[in-house]
C-alpha cells in the first residue's frame, strides 16, 4: 500500500501500462502528472518532453505513438480546448494515445484550483466532425491508476484516443493505493502487421475486422498516415463512398463495443425506487448520501458512471424502466443529465442537482435533493 496523489497514480498507471513517452505543458491541476513523469521516464528508458503548448504536446504524442511507443499527455481546462484539433487527428488517423484532462472550473481560465466536471460534452464533441472517443472518469486514487491502465489498453486495441477525465479533487487528493504487481492487470498491445511489408496497406482491415493492424514508423512497412479522408492505402481520397465507409467504420469501432467499454458501478440498486446518478468526485458524496438515505429507510440507490463515453445507455434505460425517478448530480449545468434524459426516454422523471461554483457537493445537500424525490 502506497500513499499517492491522484495525479501520481495516473502517472504510475501509465508506466504500468507501458507508456514510454509523455509530452505536456504545465497547467493546474494536472501539472503533477508531468512533474512525476519528468522524474520517472528517464528511469524506465522513456522520454519526457515539455512542449511549447498543448497542441504541440498531443502532436508529439501522436508522432511518438506512430513509431510504436505508447504515449500520453495531460492537461486541464484551457489546455483541453487546445487538445481538440489533435484528438480529431488521432481519431481520424487511428493513432493510439491517452489524453488526461484534470477538470477545473470554467469556462475559459475560470477558477484554476477549483474542481468542476464541465468538460463532459467537450470530451465527446470538442473536435469537429463525427469521430470516436472513449472517456473514463475515476472517483478514487486507486481507480485512477486502474483506469489509466485500461485507457491505454482501449487506445491500443481500438486505435482510438482515450480521454481520462479527472477532476481537481481526484487529481490532488491522496489515498492509499495498492499497486498491482507486474502481470496482475492485463496490459494490451496494438496489433502489428506480420505479412510481407511490400503488400502492407496502412488502413486495410483483415476480413471481418474493423481495426487495421498498425505498423511502426521505421519498421519497413512504408506507412502512409493523413488526417485527410483516406482510403485503405492511407492516401487522401475525395470519393464519397470512401468517406462514408471511413467515418462509419471509425464510429462503429466504438459503438459496436459499447457493452465492454461503458463501465458502471451500481450500489443498492436491487430494490431502489430512486436512483442517484453521478461520477468522479461527486459520486463520493453521492454514495454517502445514498447510505444516509438508506439509514432513513428511503429506497435509494447509486449508479456511478465509470465510462462516460460511449454513454451507458443500456444501464440507464434498464433502471429507468423500473424506478420512480432519477437524480443526476454533477458539477456542471446538466451535461450528463441531458444524456440520462435521452437514454431514459421518458420512462421516469429525471431531475438534476448541479453546482458550478467550484465547491464540492456535500452528502447532506444530495440527501435533501433525494428526499424531495422520494
Amino acid at each position: 500500500m502506497r500513499l499517492l496523489q491522484g495525479n501520481e497514480a495516473c502517472a504510475e498507471g501509465a508506466l504500468y501500462a507501458g507508456c514510454r513517452f509523455f509530452a505536456g505543458y504545465p497547467i493546474t491541476p494536472s501539472s503533477e502528472i508531468a512533474e512525476h513523469l519528468a522524474r520517472r521516464m528517464p528511469q524506465v528508458g522513456g522520454t519526457f518532453v515539455q512542449m511549447e503548448d498543448e497542441i504541440a504536446s498531443l502532436a508529439a504524442c501522436i508522432g511518438a505513438s506512430l513509431t510504436g511507443v505508447k504515449a500520453m499527455t495531460a492537461t486541464s481546462g484551457p489546455g483541453f480546448s487546445l487538445k481538440q484539433e489533435h484528438i480529431g487527428f488521432a481519431a481520424m488517423a487511428e493513432v493510439p494515445c491517452v489524453v488526461v484532462d484534470a477538470q477545473r472550473a470554467g469556462p475559459s481560465t475560470g477558477m484554476p484550483t477549483s474542481p468542476a466536471q464541465g468538460d463532459v460534452q467537450q470530451a465527446r464533441w470538442g473536435t469537429h466532425g463525427d469521430h470516436p472517443v472513449v472517456v473514463y472518469s475515476p472517483w478514487s486514487v486507486q481507480e485512477t491508476f486502474e483506469l489509466t491502465v485500461r485507457a491505454f489498453n482501449v487506445a491500443e486495441t481500438l486505435r482510438v484516443p482515450v480521454i481520462l477525465l479527472l477532476d481537481e479533487v481526484v487529481a490532488h487528493m491522496r489515498e492509499g493505493v495498492e499497486l498491482p504487481a507486474p502481470g496482475r492487470m492485463p496490459v494490451l498491445e496494438r496489433s502489428r502487421p506480420t505479412g510481407d511489408p511490400a503488400a502492407y496497406r496502412s488502413y486495410a482491415c483483415a476480413p471481418g475486422e474493423d481495426v487495421p493492424p498498425m505498423a511502426d514508423f521505421g519498421a519497413g512497412f512504408r506507412m502512409a498516415v493523413t488526417g485527410l479522408t483516406h482510403d485503405e492505402s492511407g492516401f487522401p481520397s475525395g470519393r464519397p463512398a470512401v468517406a462514408d465507409a471511413l467515418v462509419r467504420r471509425l464510429a462503429g469501432k466504438v459503438e459496436r463495443r459499447v457493452g465492454e467499454l461503458a463501465a458502471v458501478d451500481g450500489r443498492y440498486l436491487e430494490d431502489a425506487q430512486i436512483v442517484l446518478i453521478s461520477f468522479g468526485c461527486t459520486a463520493r458524496a453521492g454514495l454517502r448520501a445514498v447510505r444516509l438515505a438508506r439509514e432513513r429507510g428511503l429506497p435509494v440507490g447509486l449508479l456511478r458512471l465509470i465510462g462516460l463515453w460511449p454513454f451507458p445507455d443500456r444501464a440507464v434505460a434498464e433502471l429507468a424502466g423500473r424506478v420512480r425517478g432519477m437524480l443526476v448530480a454533477e458539477m456542471n449545468l446538466g451535461q450528463v443529465r441531458r444524456e440520462v434524459e435521452r437514454a431514459a426516454r421518458g420512462a421516469c422523471p429525471v431531475a438534476g442537482h448541479h453546482r458550478v461554483d467550484g465547491e464540492l457537493m456535500n452528502p447532506e445537500e444530495l440527501l435533501a435533493a433525494l428526499e424531495v424525490l422520494a
Binding site: R20, F21, I55, A60, G63, E85, F217, G218, A224
Partner: protein
C-alpha cells in the same frame, strides 16, 4: 534524370499547378536523397497542410501528413521516440511561419535533429492566394487587395536567431545549388532549415502580373543575390533582393540524443 525508387510513381500525377516551383523542389530533393543515400526504411517524411506539405504523399518512405502548422511538433515526437530515424519536414511559408511559427522557434531552440524544407511561395497557395508572413510589402494577394501592409519574415534570420544549427536559402531557379543545400540539411545532426524560394504563378504570379512559371523563375533570378556577392553590395543595391546561401552550419549537441543520454544515465542508476 530523376532518381527512381524514391518516388511513389503510383501516386502520380501530382496535384501541383503548371509552373509551380514545388515540383522543381521535389526534384532537387530526390537528387539530394540519392546523393546522400537517404535510407528508405529509416526516414520519415512529415508534412503540415498546404500544397507544399502534400509532397510527402509522393515520396516512397513512411509519411505523415498532419495538421496545418504542426508538422514540427509531430516530427519532434517521432525523433524523440526513435532518435535513430531521420525526420524530414516539408512545409510552406504559411504552415511554418504563421500558424506553425511557435513550433518553428522552439524546434530550432532545442536543436532537435529534424530537417525542414520550407517551400516559400510568398503566399497561401492551397487556399488560393492570401498573403502570408513572407509576402513582401506592397504585393497583392486576395486578402491584400490594396497591397500588403505587413512586414515579411526573413525565415533564415528567424531560424538562426532561434538557434538552428544549419540554415540555408536556395531557389528553384538554381536547382543544383538547392540540391546541395538539401543534401547538407538531410545529413546535418541538428535542426536544419532550408528556405526554398518557389514561385506560385497561379495566384501570386497572376495577381502581381509576374507572368507564368518560367517568367517568375527569371524574376526570381534577378531578385536574388548570392551570399558572397551580397557582401560587396551596398544596402541600396541589396534592397528588394533575397540573399541565397548557407548562413549557419555548426555542430551543437542534438536534443533527441541528449534525451537518450539522460535515460541511459538514469536508467542505469
Amino acid at each position: 534524370m530523376i532518381p527512381s525508387g524514391y518516388l511513389r510513381e503510383d501516386r502520380l500525377p501530382h496535384l501541383l499547378c503548371a509552373g509551380c516551383g514545388h515540383g522543381i523542389a521535389l526534384q532537387a530533393l530526390l537528387r539530394a536523397a540519392e546523393k546522400v543515400n537517404l535510407p528508405r526504411e529509416g526516414t520519415v517524411f512529415v508534412g503540415g497542410i498546404g500544397c507544399s506539405s502534400r509532397l510527402v504523399n509522393y515520396l516512397n518512405f513512411d509519411s505523415l501528413h498532419t495538421t496545418h502548422g504542426r508538422a514540427l511538433a509531430f516530427a519532434t515526437g517521432i525523433k524523440l521516440a526513435r532518435p535513430e530515424l531521420r525526420v524530414v519536414v516539408i512545409t510552406g511559408d504559411g504552415d511554418l511561419a504563421a500558424i506553425g511559427g511557435n513550433h518553428l522557434i522552439h524546434a530550432a531552440r532545442r536543436n532537435i535533429g529534424v530537417t525542414v524544407l520550407c517551400l516559400n511561395n510568398e503566399n497561401y497557395g492551397m487556399t488560393s492566394g492570401q498573403y502570408s508572413p513572407t509576402t513582401p510589402r506592397g504585393m497583392l494577394a486576395t486578402t491584400a487587395p490594396y497591397g500588403n501592409l505587413d512586414r515579411p519574415f526573413d525565415l533564415c534570420r528567424l531560424a538562426e536567431a532561434a538557434g538552428a544549427t544549419y540554415v540555408a536559402r536556395g531557389g528553384v531557379h538554381a536547382v543544383f545549388q538547392l540540391a546541395n543545400f538539401f543534401a547538407r540539411a538531410l545529413t546535418h545532426d541538428g535542426f536544419a532549415l532550408v528556405d526554398v524560394l518557389s514561385p506560385c504563378p497561379t495566384y501570386f504570379g497572376r495577381r502581381n502580373r509576374l507572368g507564368d512559371g518560367k517568367a517568375m523563375l527569371h524574376w526570381q533570378q534577378e531578385h536574388t543575390v548570392s551570399l558572397a556577392a551580397a557582401g560587396k553590395k551596398t544596402p541600396e543595391e541589396l534592397a528588394g533582393r533575397m540573399v541565397l546561401g548557407e548562413f549557419v552550419r555548426r555542430e551543437e549537441p542534438e536534443y533527441a540524443a541528449a534525451c537518450r543520454e539522460l535515460s541511459r544515465r538514469e536508467g542505469a542508476s
